[in-house]
Structures are given as C-alpha cells and as structure tokens.
Amino acid sequence: MIAMNFRGPFRVRADRNKPDPVIEHPEDAIVRVTRSCICGSDLHLYHGLVPDTRVGTTFGHEFTGEVVEVGSSIKNLKVGDHVLVPFNIACGVCPFCKQELYGNCHESNPEATAVGGIFGYSHTAGGFDGGQAEYVRVPFADVGPMVIPPDLDLDDAVLLTDVVPTGYQAAEMGGIKEGDTVVVFGAGPVGIMAAKCSWLFGAGRVIIIDQLEYRLEFAQRFAQCEAYNFRSLSDPVLFLKKTTDYFGADVCIDAVGCEAAGSTLQTITGRKTLLQAGSATALHWAINSVKKGGIVSIVGVYGPTGNLIPIGNVVNKGITIRANQASVKRLLPKLIEHIRAGRLNPKEIITHRVPLEEVSDAYHIFSRKLDNCIKTILIPPSARA
C-alpha cells in the first residue's frame, strides 16, 4: 500500500510498497483510510523533537476510514462501516479508561507509562503505524471508533478525531466562569478551536495571540475574538496585564507547545540544542499573564525531559494548572450536537487537500506555514476515485 514513511528529521516520503497491516489482536480492525490530517503534533515528530521516532514508521493520528476487516471479538463494528477514529488508543477497561482518561490508557503503550498509545506517534506513544496511509490497524476497535452519522460531513468528522475535542477540552479545563477573560496562545487549528469553544462556556472576552498574521485574521473572524500579533507587542505579558486592568487574565490556554517562538533563550535551549524538551515560551507567558488564583490550561505538547518555566510564580500566584492529551471519545456526542446546531463549524479551518502521494510537500508547507496553511488533509488514491 501507499504510506507516509519517516526517513529522519524534515524528511518524509510516500512509499508505495509498505505491507498492508494485519489483525494482530482479537479486538483489532483494519480500516481503509478516507481522510487523514497532518497535525501540529506531527510537526514535533517531523522536526525530530520526540525521542524514539524510528525511521520507517508511518505518522497520522487524525483519520476516518471504512472498516475492511474485524478481529474475532469485535461486536460494535462491521465490514463496510465508515468510522472516525479518535487519536487515543484506549482499552476501555483499565482504571484510567474507566475514568474517561482515554489519553492515559494503561494497556496500549508499553514504551512509556506517562501517555497512552497514539496512532502514528513514535514508539514513545506505543510504536503504532498511523493513518497517513491507505490502510491502518486500529486496536480496541470496539472502544474508540465511532460510526459516522450520515448527516455529518466527512471533513467535520475527521476534525473530530483530535482538533475539535482538543480545543474544547482546553476551554473545559480552563474552568471558565461566566464573564471570564480567556487568553489563548497559538492560532493554529487547536488554538482557534479553543478560542471558539471558550464562548460556549460563557467567556466574557476571548483573546488569541500568535505571530502569523494570516492565522490571526482567520481566528478573529472564525472565533469572533480579539487577535494580537506578539511580534508587534514589545512585551506580550505586560500588554495582557494592561488590557485586564493590571490583574491578568482569568484563564490562559497554551495551544502552542514545544515549538514556541518569541524568546531567543527558549528557542536556542529548547529547539536548537535540545537542552530542554522544546521551547516553553508560550507556557512561560501563560503563567505570567494569568491572574492570581487563575487557571492555566495546557494542551500544547512538550517532550518528556523537562522545561524552563517560572514554577515559582505558579506557587506565589496560587495558579491551578490543568493539562492532558484530549480525551476524544468522551466528548464526541456533545461536539456532534454543537456541529449539528451550527455552533461549531470545524471544516472551515481546512485550507489544503493534498493527495497522499504528495506527503513530502504537504509536510513542508505545514511546517513552514507556506501558502497560508492552517489545516491539511491528505487523501489516499482510493478515496479520490
């Protein structure tokens, strides 16, 4: 089959002769991919920041597809079902899954205990091949995948596998109270959705911060929020303090993660020399611009070693930090309702549709933010026919 193949940092290609996946466990299914996105998280792999990203693996954790084969114990799915597949691989029975912590399953990732299995996300997340391919093996297929309701657009469905729930959960973890000022760092797909969802929780004011003008313009329109370019603010933290009567925001959301720009020290130590697990500039700003007793919600991804953040200020200001990988499955019913009612319209963020065969260019465009790219969907040949 055709599949994306990682060859090393900044080097990926579409291979034509990757063996098709097979059922390896009675609760597996094999899915023929119909849509597969590239995520900001994939960039951390692509840039060589995630340890144990092996050459030859296939990325991709946001995909929809048709079930073509099921394992002997599968009850909820049948061949021919068109499903959306949450990025978390979750068993549904371990104590963490029981508490809806589907991103923290204890039975899907032997290589690390901190995080559960994720499709196509390095061996640190379980060593699974991902969905940027024609076919993919889906473990615990009775737990995660959901048959796509007929009235749901396929483009909305694929965004429900990660970006929409992640943005929603970022707002949810912010514990937003009616009238709160919410600052979202990062106007990528995740930050844009977080800003949009903050209103659903009754935010009084939503501010989004980024450095890319085209994304800020889009976010302002799409999420109906204020948008500021940190390149034109000499000190983003001071700006946010001033605009909140010198109090600080009630809630800050980090939707940037380990490749933040904006601080030379963080960039050199975090992204160039890997002395820390990526650059923590946005998180640094979030902690410093939230009010005393405020909440910092983190969905941006960081590596496992450690980061330079002002933990002393977390103590002194009495900040609550909430963070996790998105727990996709638990949020799907509610988010589908929001889409049906027109409160969320995820597919508007899609800017690029690229044949899977052109995966090298697609990664480059998204990584370098060329051609006003916000969200890219890869489409395998069989889904284009």
């Binding site: 693996t57 061996h123 699974f128 109906q224 496992p304 480059h364």
Partner: protein, 169 residues
C-alpha cells in the same frame, strides 16, 4: 460594566456549556477511585509479540496491545535497548533514544542504498513546495549555500597552499 448574555447574541451558543458544577473539571471529572484496584482489573487479551518490543521499566511487562512498526535493529537498536534500562524519569533514557534516532537516519540511508534506492532528499524535504510557494526564500537559501561553500573551499585552498609552501622551505 458587567456585560449581560444579550451582549453576546452575535455568538451562537454563547454560555450553553457554562456549568457552575464544572468543578472539579477534567481530568478528575469522572473520578471513581478505580485506580485503587491497581493492576487487579480484568485485562484485555494479550497481543502475541512476534517482533522485539521494548518496554518501560516502570511497568511489569508489555501492555495488552502495542505497535509492531520498525523493531529495534542495528546500532540504533543497541542504543535503544540500553536506553530502556533507565526509567522514564532519567535523562539517560531520553538522550540515548535521541542519539539512536539520529544514528537511525544514517542506517535508513544505508538501507535505501542496499535496496537499490537512491533517496531523493531534495524531494523528501518538500523542496518542490518551497520553490513553488517561497521562490525568493528558496533561491536565497541556495545562493547563501553556494556562497558559503565557495568561501569555505577558497579558504581551505589558501590554507593548504600555505602549508605546502612551508613544507617546501
């Protein structure tokens, strides 16, 4: 002045999920105490392991399922096996893995060549897209590259020539 819900009428669904009971929120929203059972829960069946799978020493063995992509091999594999003798809290674990990842890139090139495939690194890096959408930047990069190489080569030539002279004397 405090705004009223009417002030947000332009935002569809404003406040619809506002919930004074959203405390404690996720991740401890659905806390059940189940984790006090520790490992005594009924595990799903075990996936048979047909290739080498490394596992964190912070857990007793493999998980019920796992990925079977790119098992450890070669020099990078040796380093990965060594990495897994350290726990996840240890720098030795992660830095060894990053070192293995870098070596793995060269192993990848060697394996491509052994299979009669010369990797098109230009295309793999997506440079066609750079040329298409950022021609100026791409040209600038190439020109700088050529200049730096020429200057470096020139310097090297000068240095080696001087050496030869001194040798002569």
């Amino acid at each position: 002045m405090k705004k009223k819900p009417e002030d947000y009428s332009h935002i569809k669904g404003w406040g619809i999920d506002a919930d004074p009971e959203n405390e404690p929120t996720y991740p401890i929203k659905k806390y059940t105490g189940d984790d006090h059972q520790r490992l005594s829960y009924a595990k799903p069946p075990q996936q048979p392991s047909k290739v080498e799978i490394l596992h964190s020493n912070e857990r007793p063995g493999l998980t019920s399922v796992f990925g079977t992509s790119s098992p450890p091999s070669g020099l990078s594999g040796l380093i990965r096996r060594h990495a897994f003798t350290y726990s996840e809290g240890n720098w030795g674990h992660w830095l060894s893995l990053i070192l293995a990842d870098r070596i793995n890139v060269w192993e990848g090139i060697a394996s491509d060549l052994l299979h009669g495939h010369i990797p098109n690194i230009f295309a793999e890096r997506g440079w066609n897209a750079e040329l298409k959408y950022n021609k100026k930047g791409a040209i600038q990069k190439v020109v700088t590259g050529v200049l730096v190489t020429t200057v470096a080569a020139g310097l090297l030539y000068q240095l080696t020539r001087k050496k030869k002279k001194t040798n002569w004397l």
